[in-house]
């Protein structure tokens, strides 16, 4: 087996792994402000992708659909916060776990009823003919995933570090009460984090759809892997999810090639179990994940 083919597969896998990283980053955003995550995050990915596809079907240009889809994702994030998270958090209960799962099931059924159960192609202006660079073939489509993920995560991290709003976000993550005493509304910070989380979920959907097609179940495997990535990397390191996401993506491609295509899902679960057994805070994490 020539080394170049191994490198080829590892790189293709790693680029796809960035989608896991992006969805995992969506978990991190809300965990930081509220110690809660949306267990129906995959349905946000899927519904946003369907919504964007509908806009494309209406004849809108891809470059108009992209921002519209992201705004739609932000709105869905706010719906999740309002409907499934806020009341539970106000009562200091863990009810958000069940409520976000239920809301996800609701989104799933709604999507099946509105758009049907079939997988549909997602047209994109980005070409999929591969080109040769540094001895491996990559497609512009794969590259667009990488550029989109890294650009948006980089932008959010930059805003978090450089703006006062971002520092307020961090302050509420560290100490909600002390943040309130500074005049920072914890409620609005949590809303913002859910809106951002919905936005990155929508971006994941729009970026991955041309490769995977759009269907009600398109995100169920993705989100499971993203969850593994978030746990393995830790729930507070954006840099960590990028590294772990790419690593897992590469590992999956290699496993499915060398062991058998049925083994594609194995590395994610093995990493998850290993992380929980050996280092529950995650490789890059500081905060321990609470057992609920």
């Amino acid at each position: 087996m020539p080394a170049s083919i191994v490198a080829q597969m590892a790189i293709s896998g790693a680029l796809m792994g960035l989608v896991y990283a992006l969805i995992a980053y969506g978990f991190q955003l809300t965990y930081a402000t509220s110690k809660s995550i949306n267990f129906g995050q995959g349905e946000l990915v899927m519904v946003s992708a369907f919504f964007s596809l509908t806009l494309l079907d209406l004849g809108l240009s891809y470059w108009l659909v992209l921002p519209a889809g992201l705004l739609f994702g932000a709105a869905l994030g706010l719906v999740v916060e309002r409907a499934a998270v806020r009341l539970a958090l106000e009562q200091k209960s863990e009810g958000w776990i069940l409520l976000t799962i239920i809301l996800g099931l609701f989104f799933f059924s709604a999507a099946e009823n509105i758009w049907g159960r079939d997988d549909r192609p997602f047209p994109t202006p980005i070409p999929s003919e591969s080109f040769h660079v540094f001895g491996v073939d990559v497609t512009p489509l794969e590259l667009s995933v990488a550029v989109g993920v890294l650009a948006v995560m980089g932008l959010i991290e930059l805003l978090k570090r450089k703006t006062l709003l971002g520092k307020a976000f961090e302050a509420v993550s560290v100490d909600r009460d002390a943040g309130e005493l500074m005049g920072i509304s914890a409620k609005r910070t949590v809303m913002l984090s859910y809106a951002l989380s919905g936005t990155v979920a929508a971006l994941a959907g729009i970026l991955v759809s041309p490769i995977t097609t759009v269907g009600p179940t398109m995100a169920s495997a993705l989100v499971l892997k993203a969850f593994s990535v978030a746990v393995v990397a830790g729930l507070d390191s954006g840099f960590g999810v990028v590294l772990v996401g790419m690593f897992l993506g590469a590992l999956e491609t290699l496993a499915s090639f060398y062991v058998g295509s049925g083994w594609r899902e194995a590395p994610g679960l093995v990493l998850l179990i290993l992380a929980l057994a050996v280092r529950p805070t995650g490789v890059f994490g500081k905060a321990a994940i609470r057992k609920v």
């Binding site: 006062l164 709003l165 520092k167 302050a171 005049g183």
Partner: protein, 238 residues
């Protein structure tokens, strides 16, 4: 400036405040003293909105604020330097200070420039904070964290400051330094409500004082009056 009227508050089933009332006039320093568990910190939390009073009223400049979110009350001009300091450990000293002025700074860009004069004022008051402005707040000593907590509260240009146990866990020489700052703020006309374990030191700086016992105000008066109270002398002033 501040009126607390017959406030009841607590945590879950345990009631801590059982009808607390007190008043802070503009330009004065009022001390709140009493034994551990008497309800001093709970009173502070009920005033600043971290705890919602079950009954009673809290008036800030004549307007009822009980039941508002703490962030709303903070923007009305009340700064609370909480017990245990509660600095943002993963942010640097200067970011902590900037967040103190969050309510009146632009959210995205240009906030540093707008806060420059306030930063300068806090750094003049606490030169140590200027030296450590790029350091993570979590790596400061206890005394430095207390200075940061007070500086952060000052950044809001508050009408009223609540200082909860500013001397807690500090070496005597640092306690002196903290109280020197409190005296200086008083001289500048700052209105303060001060909770203190060191009743003696608190009475030296206060214009008026309340003594709490089991969720109520037991005794009140000027420091001179309280010093004549023999029961009090025995219990708190050593």
């Amino acid at each position: 400036m501040l009126l607390v009227e017959d406030v009841y508050a607590g945590y879950g089933l345990s009631e801590v405040l059982l009808g607390t009332s007190l008043a802070v006039k503009p330009g004065t320093v009022v001390a709140l003293i009493g034994a551990n568990g008497a309800g001093k910190t709970t009173t502070m939390r009920a005033i600043s909105g971290l705890l919602r009073p079950a009954r009673g009223r809290v008036l800030l400049d004549g307007n009822p604020v009980q039941g508002l979110a703490a962030s709303r009350i903070a923007r009305l001009g009340l700064a609370h330097a909480p017990e245990g300091r509660k600095v943002f450990g993963t942010l640097c000293v200067e970011d902590n200070l900037l967040l103190g002025a969050y309510g009146r700074l632009p959210r995205f860009f240009g906030f540093r420039g707008r806060a420059a004069s306030d930063l300068e004022r806090v750094y003049a008051l606490f030169p140590r904070l200027r030296e450590r402005r790029r350091q993570l707040a979590g790596t400061l000593s206890g005394g430095e964290q207390q200075m940061l907590a007070i500086g952060r509260a000052l950044m809001a240009r508050p009408k009223l400051m609540l200082l909860d146990e500013p001397s807690m866990g500090l070496a005597p020489v640092i306690v002196q330094e903290v109280f020197r700052t409190i005296r200086q703020l008083k001289a500048e006309g700052m209105t303060m409500l001060l909770v203190e374990q060191f009743a003696k030191t608190a009475l030296e700086v206060a214009d008026y004082a309340y003594v709490m016992e089991r969720g109520r105000i037991a005794i009140e008066g000027t420091p001179a009056e309280l010093r004549r109270d023999e029961r009090l002398l025995a219990a708190y002033l050593g």
